[in-house]
Symmetry: C2
Subunit: 179 residues, 2 copies
DNA sequence: TATTGTTATACTCTATAACTATA
DNA sequence: TATAGTTATAGAGTATAACAATA
């Protein structure tokens, strides 16, 4: 455990943080000695509420599965997108992921400092940086995909079943794209 | 529009913020002149990715629907939980929602300053504050529920259908509770 | 003049430590 | 000694403005 959820600053600090992000919430829920659980009531039917709680759980599980590679969901998504779209610049990769250009700089600094991807000055337009995966980046991404498939997705399949998992992702995509 | 996503500081500032949280992301995706969309590839099958994007969309829609009442998802969840569980203290309400006690103080200060809920010193244990909704709080919550039902949930039903919406919430609850 | 990458900065959310008043 | 509410504070995430280099 002890996954650094952060890890985007230019100078990485792989210090043993006191806890995964999960800890705080868990503490919050377990602090007092279980004095009769509260009634959630309509809250358990609120889409936003269950969506947010589910998202937190999924990200926590992702971080645990990726602990050996030290990849956050955001970093993994960048690597996936750069692999699938080599030759694109920072603006294109960032905006596709909903990351603002200023915030993408530190994230890329981190990946580049770990030799997972590289900025290449474009010859066509010398303002832009083309992004590519390094050999190490490709290797790490391959291992990351395997971890996601065997640990992360497998867990979800156990919980929901293959068919439900696909239906879930389809509905979430629809919400993300059309809501 | 111009919903202040924040609104938790003790002294509320209902200044016209430059933009809803959504704007930044939208700008990020539309900034450059649509130079051939990128391939999402495996990203569109990643649970965490679609979950996060869907959650952001749902929260944005929630804020728009609640603009007239100026209630955030977190504030709405507190009002719902206090209504359903009157006589509970701050620690119990906060921990059930996964909010840490220190962070719950400003949130409550805001609701109390708007006369939506009240802290009452417990007679049994003078350390704790019992939480209750004020009459105004009950009235606002009633209106909020109607807005959620007629605008927010209705939108989701249009998009997915009633049956799918229920299946979605059930799956998300399962993930939130068992993943 | 407009755009790319960048810096600086601010605000929100989340997290921990430590104080106070009560128990 | 332990707990409830609180304060102070720090770290990530996310947002905007503005600058240098380039177009």
């Amino acid at each position: 455990m002890t996954v650094s959820k952060t890890a985007d600053k230019t100078a990485e600090k792989s210090s043993e943080k006191p806890a995964d992000t999960a800890k705080g919430r868990k503490d919050a829920a377990e602090a007092q000695g279980a004095a009769e659980a509260l009634q959630l009531g309509e809250l358990s039917e609120q889409l936003g509420y269950v969506l947010k709680r589910a998202q937190l759980k999924v990200f926590e599980n992702f971080l645990r599965c990726m602990a050996s590679l030290q990849l956050t969901p955001a970093q993994f998504s960048v690597l996936l997108l750069v692999e699938k779209n080599p030759g694109r610049n920072q603006t294109e990769i960032a905006s596709t992921l909903g990351i603002l250009r200023p915030n993408f700089v530190a994230l890329l600094d981190n990946l580049e400092s770990r030799d997972l991807c590289a900025r290449i000055r474009s010859t066509n337009d010398r303002r832009s940086h083309i992004l590519v995966l390094t050999d190490k980046g490709k290797a790490v991404l391959t291992r990351a995909k395997k971890l996601v498939a065997t640990k992360h997705e497998a867990r979800l399949n156990d919980l929901l079943g293959q068919a439900n998992r696909e239906a879930l992702i389809e509905m979430l995509s629809k919400i993300a794209n059309e809501f």
